[in-house]
């Protein structure tokens, strides 16, 4: 492996070489990811603006306190921690696949791509469970003096301030923006995870068919890896904005 140090007086902008010392495909993947970062950023900032503009917002520790097979146990932060660690771990297996690609080790790339794909599918499974749990949830909400039972959807938010009604603590309707932002942003992120899994699957098949060995390099794995790490990066911020604060 070449370990040439870069001469300090290299004239990057004189033509004949990439001023970024990186292939066209990778530069464009970076620029795509930058634009995608602005899209996600705009969504999250819009969510923050609305959240700052109302007096009461759903408390994430109350909304996201369930865990599969745990019944009604109150477990704030638990499930989302699991999802976060799944995604971090699949990011590690992805970077290990890139590493094996640098060494032209096809078997290694195959192994780590499979693990990455499984991580992505596990994350999507978790998200499917969480969405189902929220939409089909059953919360007593005081609406016009009557108790109704609501789940969290894009039109219904049962997480307004709690009030006493006939000796019971019940919810009131909160800003409907909550469901829209939650399902919109986690859905947009989940769709990125889904397309990442498809991309990784294609990369796995191409590795298996020996396309990258014929080409002489595994740069496609690096590009898919950039996308996959970006998905993890976005989740770090979704995790912060929706679940932690």
């Amino acid at each position: 492996m070449s370990t040439t140090a870069i001469p300090t007086n290299t004239k990057w902008w004189n033509g004949g070489r990439s001023p970024f010392n990186i292939s066209y495909g990778k530069v464009m993947m970076w620029y795509f990811l930058m634009s995608d970062a602005f899209t996600f950023g705009a969504f999250l900032i819009s969510y923050g603006t609305i959240r700052f503009s109302v007096n009461h917002w759903a408390d994430p520790n109350h909304v996201f306190n369930a865990f599969p097979f745990a019944g009604h146990a109150n477990l704030p932060l638990a499930f989302v921690s699991l999802m976060t660690f799944i995604l971090i771990f699949s990011s590690v297996t992805m970077v290990l696949a890139v590493h094996e690609g640098h060494k032209m080790n096809r078997k290694g790339v195959e192994k780590y791509m499979i693990l990455t794909i499984l991580g992505g599918l596990a994350f999507l499974g978790c998200q499917a469970w969480e969405w189902t749990h929220m939409i089909t949830g059953d919360h007593a909400v005081l609406v016009n003096g009557q108790i109704e039972h609501w789940g969290t959807t894009v039109t219904r938010n049962p997480w307004g301030p709690e009030v006493m009604h006939n000796g019971q603590l019940v919810g009131t309707p909160g800003p409907i923006a909550f469901g829209g932002y939650f399902f919109g942003i986690t859905g947009f992120h989940g769709f990125h995870v889904f397309s990442g899994v498809i991309i990784n699957l294609v990369m796995y098949i191409k590795t298996k068919l020996g396309h990258f060995d014929q080409r002489g390099h595994y740069e496609m794995i690096e590009k898919a890896g950039l996308y996959w790490h970006f998905v993890d990066l976005v989740w770090v911020f979704v995790f912060l904005c929706f679940y932690l604060v």
């Binding site: 492996m1 070449s2 370990t3 040439t4 140090a5 290299t10 990057w12 004949g16 070489r17 990439s18 970024f20 010392n21 990186i22 292939s23 066209y24 970076w30 970062a37 603006t49 700052f52 503009s53 109302v54 007096n55 009461h56 408390d59 009604h72 109150n74 704030p76 932060l77 976060t84 660690f85 971090i88 771990f89 990011s91 590690v92 970077v95 290990l96 590493h99 690609g101 060494k103 032209m104 007593a140 709690e162 019971q168 603590l169 019940v170 919810g171 080409r215 002489g216 390099h217 595994y218 740069e219 690096e222 950039l226 790490h229 970006f230 993890d232 990066l233 912060l240 932690l244 604060v245």
Partner: protein
């Protein structure tokens, strides 16, 4: 052998460590940061309603700072941006600096919107803030 150099325009291959030690180290760093974040999040939950406004805000800002640290490690090590040359790093990082103003301006705007609503655009004093009934364990099943 610089097997990943695919084009004649690329004159210097970044050095790739032959071992995976650094990757696993960053994995543990990310895990540790996440655990600290979760601990702080749990602290906010456990002390809900008993913390001063400043302490709550401070804890949330600390969590946000830890998130930025995680983002730095993911981008720098996992995405190898830290191994690229300065030109490449700058073409990605400088545009993203717009977020600093983007976030500050919009959150300020949201907050101002709330104040205007609570005071009829300043024509009456703000009411004492309506908090949810101090979080009694919420299993208010019907």
């Amino acid at each position: 052998m610089s097997s990943h150099v695919s084009s004649p325009e690329i004159t210097h291959a970044p050095e790739h460590a032959s071992g995976t030690g650094r990757i696993w180290k960053i994995f543990w760093v990310l895990s540790a940061l996440t655990i600290v974040e979760l601990a702080l999040g749990y602290f906010l939950y456990a002390k809900h309603g008993h913390l001063s406004y400043g302490l709550t805000l401070g804890t949330k800002l600390l969590i946000a700072a830890l998130t930025l640290a995680k983002a730095y490690y993911i981008v720098s090590v996992f995405m190898h941006l830290g191994d690229e040359i300065r030109n490449m790093i700058m073409t990605i990082i400088v545009p993203l600096m717009l977020f600093v103003w983007f976030i500050a301006a919009f959150l300020w705007d949201g907050n101002s919107w709330k104040n205007l609503r609570n005071t009829n655009a300043g024509s009456r004093p703000a009411q004492t803030e309506q908090h949810a009934a101090p979080a009694v364990e919420k299993d208010a099943k019907p």
